[in-house]
């Protein structure tokens, strides 16, 4: 195959690895970015029906963020990740926590009720996460990779449906973060980058 792929990141070569963390600056920036969600235009500018449609979409997104946080938490607690990968997982989890905060804020601002996370036991038992089949660090990464891809595509799929265009921009920023995660995870797994253009969404 002629697909491009980065050299595989292992604990041993992590110091020159593509995934090397940018110190506190990255997570600090992430938090700052997420704190600055455009909140104008929520609620007041459109009808209740449109707002409730938007709230429903945001709640689906929030459910995915809850699930992603749980998956990273389970992965981080599994003892299966090497130190550098654990640091990456912790960083990505913090991004999802930032998303969660932003989504809850947006939903509440629009008069909606944010969906609650399931219990950790429910996440562990869910067929979708299939936690019981995780045996290695790569299994943890593959689960995260699958969830990130699912979230990217789901967000792309719902984006045209937002009545409030500011929310479409928020979705775009979520998509950028999740795509960044997917790419890093794919690289850490030694996977190939997609060959065709427009490989996300449809």
């Amino acid at each position: 195959m002629t697909q491009a792929s980065f050299p595989r990141l292992t604990a041993a070569d992590s110091r020159r690895g593509f995934l090397k963390l940018g110190g506190v600056a990255l997570s600090g920036t992430a938090v700052a970015l997420l704190g600055g969600l455009p909140m104008r235009g929520f609620a007041a500018s459109h009808s209740d029906a449109k707002a409730s449609g938007d709230i429903a979409i945001l709640n689906v997104a929030l459910g995915l963020e809850h699930e992603g946080i749980a998956a990273y938490e389970i992965g981080a607690g599994s003892g299966l990740l090497s130190k550098p990968l654990l640091a990456v997982a912790t960083l990505f989890k913090s991004h999802h926590e930032g998303h969660r905060t932003a989504l809850i804020g947006a939903i509440e601002k629009m008069g909606g009720t944010p969906v609650q996370p399931k219990s950790m036991d429910d996440y562990k038992a869910s067929e979708k996460l299939s936690i019981s089949s995780i045996k290695t660090g790569d299994d943890v990464l593959r689960l995260a990779q699958r969830l990130e891809l699912g979230a990217v595509n789901a967000y792309i799929g719902v984006m045209p449906s937002f009545a409030d265009r500011n929310l479409a921009q928020v979705a775009g920023r979520l998509i950028a973060d999740e795509t960044m995660h997917w790419t890093a995870l794919t690289q850490a797994l030694g996977g190939s980058l997609p060959t065709p253009a427009f490989s996300f969404g449809a």
Binding site: V60, L147, G150
Partner: protein
């Protein structure tokens, strides 16, 4: 090789439903995992309803899922035609439904997704079968 067996099974299943359809359930499975998997799984309700048995069932009849009134009252039975319309634009097909998602704009992608949904609709079925369900789709596999 299991892929060949799966395609042969699929080919015969498709032949009995609509002769000549060249849909690829295997590819459909991969598309499903990537594009639908955030909200759906075959086994469990999530943000969207579970999909086991969906092909040949009345819309909005998976137990335990809180469907929109729009889909509940839609009187749709899921077959190749209705699924194709649904996946190309759910809101145009059933206005007011809750799957405000467009992730299958290519006809070939839809055909493969539908072939996959059909392949997971053999056997156990928790939703309500439609009267017009093709005979092939009710056959239970061991």
């Amino acid at each position: 090789m299991s892929f060949q067996i799966a395609s042969m099974l699929l080919a015969s299943a498709l032949l009995s439903v609509s002769a000549g359809a060249a849909a690829d359930a295997k590819r459909g499975e991969a598309l499903y995992a990537a594009r639908c998997g955030a909200c759906h799984s075959v086994a469990d309700n999530g943000a969207g309803p579970r999909h086991r048995g969906v092909f040949g069932c009345h819309a909005a009849t998976q137990p335990g899922f809180d469907y929109s009134d729009a889909l509940k009252h839609s009187d749709i039975v899921w077959d190749e035609k209705s699924l194709d319309r649904w996946l190309s634009d759910p809101s145009a097909f059933v206005p007011g439904n809750m799957m405000v998602v467009r992730l299958a704009n290519e006809p070939g992608d839809r055909a493969d997704l539908i072939a996959f949904l059909q392949s997971v609709s053999q056997g156990e079925r928790s939703c309500k079968p439609g009267a017009t369900m093709p005979a092939a789709a009710i056959t239970t596999h061991p």
